[in-house]
Symmetry: C2
Subunit: 842 residues, 2 copies
């Protein structure tokens, strides 16, 4: 089995790495929007927006500063408690029903099998199993049809979100309901999926939703915490929620905290980290409390650390020669890490191809096709499970209870032995395949980790191959589906196989459970390629600090081996969606590029004082999300810098310089509009034809080059959403008034519509007087971080990534804005393209 | 004991908090350099420099970019291995000798006591003990005299270093030797000090020293890794070293990693964190391997997780009613947290007063006074230990071995029982006070955590009070001294006392060990006030994830309670030294200030092309560490921005504008020097009188105000060290040549003298031709992060703290530099002063 798997892995990875031309019709290529089938062909999509993790400090914000601190502190504590309790409630809910349904199913089908093994009506049992499973999976699949984002594990989505990419719908209440209920039915339906990933996603949604508790679907539900209406605050709660999710799923509070740090926050904020740790620690223990109470009826004790736990690894008492692991075993662990990395890479490679196939052939078609696919997967899985359990198992002896003379071991083994399956086997023996397949996955993991009795090598190999293929097929089907548990099971069977070989064939004194654990870590590490958080999660799940070094070394080797071939499964799926994710650092080589090489030089500007009609036309005809606020005249800048309220506005100035003969006309403010509207968006070169919103605004070709590229001194940045908000709320003043007469918006009014600000196209133009002037200066971000054009890319990247920026203006030595850098200018693909260009030009 | 301690605490803290005027002679006030005796009187000292954690990307750096990546990767791995092995070696070394000396001492004195208890020669035993202890402490104290920075725990120093403050001598080889050897003798000498803090400091020094392995003291030792010669790289290794130190000391690799994150890095760098985790994990297990081998002669097994470990907490097998803790116990843990916080605050308050007393009365005097103080402390400690053991103990029954029927418990108890002391007690009983006092501290902790037999409440209270007072006195004496172990012991005795009361007087079913542990956590938390890392360290030390929640809640409550009165002990000592530490965040209120409110507006500039004589005079007469590179003319700026090599230099331009009639003269470049030298340092208003280094440079009063405050366009930043380096290496060109003829320095030459760059006063002026011109543009940092004057303080702070900056130029909207922000402008004290000023002016 091994050698085959290895070869397969190599072959598969070769075809991933090399760029072999496959025969494909032009039609297919058009659908995919790509021309080659290698790693890099999927470019980050341009339509994903960034979240804004930097605080926009404008006048309304400064106004509410007073008293903000204390209010916020109490509210944060309150909210964290909510996050905590709701995460726990989901955990308890999902766990309870999965357990209920699964027990029901296995009891009924098990009884039926035992009856039928005498009557020969096994087909009936199979039908029973199929009916159960397909009904459950059907429900899960229908739920995902309602909210397609609920499919999959959710970790790629959370990772993208924390990285700063806005993926529509991932933190909505509807997604949450579909995910939490869907995963329940998917797991109960016998699919080879875990519930951990969806749990993490659910936790994150709880975190995201609470600060501005309002649902898009149920508009009535609303809950006011005005000070948390920003991406920045939301991110903190998402971190806490995701961490609580991990903590609840694995009983790993520290691992959960590190997970949210590793995947998300680039800025190590001590206070936030402490809150996250507190939240995840409390989530672990609250869940533990309720589950201990519900399952064992022992309220007040803490016996069930996480939804998934690995049981206690310990040597039988009295056996002084037994060590969980020794220095010699480390060599085997390294080898297992290599194998795990290879197999993980193969898993990812196959899954990537499947995902691409689905994108091409399933997704464009009618939605019910996806449901059919889920049902097909479910049917095949059920049949395989049933047939394998019935026909492929071997009858193995139970471990003799004489070896276990102490009560502790007996009680531990009682748990393990109570879940064995004896199909077709005599007393004192058990059917090893059925024990693994015909039990919930958590119990199968416990069997592999702690069963003293043996599994036959053939069973383990078959189990591994079947599980590998089926779980690979399942991940990506439109049901909520985690990957942790299937990967752990695959790896554990492999590790147990290695332990069998070493123990039986080579006669070494080893502890089988350790090898199963290391196998599980190696395969999981090879698939997901997480390092820090996965190490800590596994250490905490085993509750045995001495496993730290072996787990860490195995994960590291598995990651290195796997990274040689392809990326982790989550990164692959992020990449397939075209999400412009920013890595941790740029390559050193990128420092050959500077900000001016990568920035977007074509910008649309607004002036501090702009006419409404210009604003509307700018907003209607561009897709930019931020507009630099600029001035053109040195004198005027001086005024501006001194903070004086401007007596004249830019419109007047523009006319003064460009058409001095119109000066008298301008004072009556009548025929200006044509000129002025262009000065506000002078670097205009989008492909969209300039629309004639106002008859006096047809594009003019009379500009000189100097006018097109004149110096523009940068004063601040205003967002599209802020501009639309100003227009909707009628923040403007008449030409003959001073800008002080403009109505002022409060912080609450500015953020009321967060996170869905109205669109410019929803605006009723009839309500606006196009001649009014808007003073944007109180609402703009007057001090965004900026870089100079000759800043090297690594510095730009660090600033952007660390501060969680959305727009980074590039300003030259004399204060003129020359470009803007966004997330899309910093993706690996974009930088590589620019670097190639750089090498060509020099 | 409790109530007294509480009252004492309240009283003490009141006098800390309130600003009661104490009677003090003016002389005393002058010595202290302060006027009041309240919390805020010690202002951050101005003479501490910042470290530069931002990379300076100049031309030499860009040149070495090629191929840097791969080299660095291998070197980092190599270096981490070194860090690892050397940290381990120290751990093994210190542990081995401490164990050897302590065993020797206690065996000899113990024998003597047992003999003398019959002969009545106890005084002889005391003399023996005193001789041992005082000899050891004398050695430790002498070592600290050699290198005074080696005193104390070292954690404040490491914290300051990672925060970005350069404290002279803290990462030197001499400090390392004195610290490692000194702590050995201090611990062996029976002082109430721990070896954990010094271990962490030692680990950090190993990390700091290796990248540029060169000793100041032993100049011959040198080891070339040219690419790590920057503060930034050094910080990474210091983080790794400190983490390895924590990991080795407590057997807590994850806690170590979080320690270095919590105390240091503000930027969460995944790759770095992974390396740190790897390093600390390996350090734990390597140390474990060697210690298991040396102490138990079991090579290949891993049985001794850390230098300090807490043993295994577990219920006796078979006792189904025993829980380590239940939900009800949490209420007691919260109360213990409050008490721990109060006592910790009292400890800190007393220690702060002692430290101030020492600063005033001991430090200014002859150095041997400090040795005498150490010896005095040692003598008192020894006498107290001896007298308490002999006279104050009670004879308690040993736990009956019948309760322990399983082998595991017996073997655990064997360890615990082997270390009891029976002085003056009959068989089957033991002297409880002697068992605690007359053993190494680690064993006393084990006794308190795991001894099934009881300690009398009187003994525990006395032990607590004596230990509290003595360890408070000891911390600050000039020996290397950690705080963790004494605090744990104090707290554990308190916790055990609570357990006694609950168990005996109230008859509750509790596990004494848990209460001792929680008491230890509460007191330690109250003293050091660390949160995240301490939680994880304690969880890992107990190797019991189920203690997570109680430990966390206790630490949180203790921190909150303590923070109500004063800061943590490490922060207090940092504050006493006047280190300008930057906190994690500014208060929200500070956002009322902007960059222009807090910046330093008086700057000294250089031009891109400057004459050597001007540079020398600037360097000799100012103390600034960085100089903005500026130009004054718009035309010229345009040239500069295009990146052309400048044909003319700034000197010429200056003359052209200010004295156009001298233009012909200027072409001969002769009589310019007077004017030019002033243009290079135009905002001159230091109190230092302008020195006449060159006769033609006398200050001129003929400048107009406009000349003094003319716009200065900012192009980059050059460090003092870089300028001195350029001068020393003769990087300049003659007036009649082009700047391309200037010799070019490589990256290696630029960083050769790191970290001790030569001083300008060491420069032999005779070797320099003052008329030559230096082109600084290739060597300056041409794209430092900048902020605009109206940036709010929180944003400035975040940028500065996160990016680890040293100088942050403030540049206005038209590109003119208006000020510079350094660490000193961002300290809490400075911001508070500015805020008060702000409130007065509005």
């Amino acid at each position: 089995g091994w050698i085959m798997a290895c070869c397969g892995s190599c072959l598969c990875c070769q075809c991933c790495c090399c760029t072999e031309g496959e025969t494909r019709t032009p039609e297919e290529l058009t659908i995919l929007g790509e021309t080659r089938e290698d790693e890099d062909e999927i470019l980050p999509r341009k339509d994903y927006e960034s979240l804004d993790y930097d605080r926009c400090i404008n006048e309304p914000y400064v106004e509410v500063l007073e008293g903000l601190d204390k209010k916020v502190k109490y509210q944060i504590i309150l909210l964290l408690l909510y996050v905590l309790f709701i995460s726990t409630a989901i955990g308890v809910f999902v766990d309870f029903f999965v357990r209920l349904f699964t027990q029901l199913k296995f009891r009924l089908v098990g009884q039926s099998v035992e009856e039928c093994s005498e009557n020969g009506c096994l087909a009936l049992s199979l039908v029973e199993l199929l009916a159960f499973n397909m009904a459950f999976v059907f429900i899960a699949s229908i739920l995902v049809l309602i909210e397609p984002v609920a499919a999959g594990s959710g970790i790629p989505e959370i990772k993208s979100y924390l990285n700063g990419v806005k993926i529509p719908g991932i933190v909505r209440l509807r997604t949450f309901l579909c995910k939490a209920v869907g995963v329940l039915f998917a797991v109960a339906g016998g699919l080879f999926v875990g519930k951990e990933g969806p749990m993490i996603h659910s936790g994150a949604i709880v975190g995201a939703g609470l600060p501005q508790f309002q649902s898009i679907t149920f508009k009535k539900i609303r809950f006011q915490f005005p000070y948390f209406r920003s991406d920045r605050d939301k991110r903190d709660f998402v971190s806490a929620g995701a961490a609580a999710g991990v903590a609840a799923a694995f009983g790993a509070p520290i691992g959960g905290t590190l997970f949210s740090l590793e995947e998300g926050s680039s800025f190590w904020n001590q206070a936030l980290t402490w809150k996250v740790l507190f939240c995840s620690m409390s989530a672990t223990f609250t869940l533990n409390f309720f589950r201990s109470g519900i399952n064992y009826n022992k309220w007040g004790s803490f016996q069930l650390p996480g939804l998934l736990n690995f049981g206690e690894f310990k040597c039988p008492d009295g056996d002084k020669n037994c060590h969980l692991w020794t220095a010699v075993d480390l060599a085997f662990f390294v080898l297992m890490g290599v194998v795990g990395g290879l197999l993980g890479a193969m898993f990812n490679c196959i899954n990537k191809r499947l995902a691409k196939y689905r994108m091409r052939n399933v997704h464009p078609k009618a939605k019910f096709i996806r449901v059919l696919e889920s049902l097909l997967v479910c049917m095949v899985t059920s049949v395989v499970v049933f047939m394998a359990s019935m026909t492929l198992g071997e009858c193995r002896d139970l471990a003799s209870p004489t070896a276990n003379n102490t009560t502790a071991i007996v009680s531990a083994n009682e748990d393990v032995n109570s879940s064995i399956r004896q199909f077709f086997c005599s007393n004192k023996t058990y059917n090893d395949m059925a024990t693994l397949f015909f039990n919930p996955q958590e119990i199968a993991i416990h069997q592999l980790f702690h069963q003293d009795a043996t599994f036959s090598p053939v069973t383990l190999s078959l189990f591994f191959v079947l599980y590998f293929l089926l779980s690979c097929w399942t991940y990506g089907v439109s049901v909520p589906s985690g990957l942790f548990v299937p990967s752990l099971l695959c790896g554990a069977s492999l590790g147990r196989l290695v332990a069998n070989v070493l123990k039986m064939n080579l006669g070494m004194h080893i502890y089988s459970g350790t090898f199963a654990l290391i196998g599980a870590a190696a395969f999981l590490g090879g698939v997901v390629r997480m390092t820090i958080s996965l190490t800590v999660i596994l250490i905490e799940s085993t509750n045995e600090i001495t496993y730290g070094l072996p787990i860490m070394i195995t994960l590291m080797v598995a990651k290195w081996t796997g990274d040689f071939f392809n990326k982790g499964i989550y990164d692959i799926h992020i990449h397939l969606r075209g999400v412009p994710l920013l890595e941790w650092e740029t390559e050193v080589e990128m420092d050959k590029l500077t900000a001016s090489d990568i920035m977007e030089p074509n910008l649309t500007y607004v002036y501090p004082h702009t006419r409404i009609q210009s604003l509307v036309s700018i907003l209607r005809t561009t897709v930019y999300h931020a507009f630099p606020v600029v001035t053109e005249n040195r004198e005027y800048e001086k005024e501006f810098m001194k903070g004086n309220i401007l007596v004249s506005n830019n419109i007047k100035f523009k006319v003064q310089t460009s058409t001095p003969d119109q000066q008298i006309t301008f004072l009556h403010c009548q025929p200006l509009n044509r000129t002025q509207s262009f000065s506000s968006c002078c670097f205009w070169d989008r492909h969209v034809p300039y629309p004639n919103l106002y008859p006096d605004q047809s594009p003019s070709e009379e500009w000189s080059m100097e006018e097109r590229f004149r110096p523009l001194t940068f004063h601040g940045l205003i967002l599209r959403s802020q501009l639309v908000n100003l227009l909707i709320r009628g923040v403007c003043y008449a030409e003959n008034q001073s800008s002080a007469s403009q109505p002022r918006l409060s912080y609450a009014e500015m953020t009321e519509d967060y996170p869905r600000f109205p669109d410019i196209h929803d605006l009723d133009l009839a309500l606006l007087n196009p001649r009014m002037i808007v003073d944007v200066t109180p609402y703009m971000n007057s001090s965004p971080y900026t870089v100079s054009p000759n800043t090297h890319v690594s510095q730009v990247f660090n600033l952007f990534r660390t501060m969680g920026l959305r727009h980074l203006p590039v300003v030259n030595a004399v204060g003129e804005i020359v470009g803007i850098i966004t997330r899309h200018n910093l993706t690996h693909e974009f930088l590589m393209a620019k670097l190639r260009q750089h090498y060509i030009t020099i």
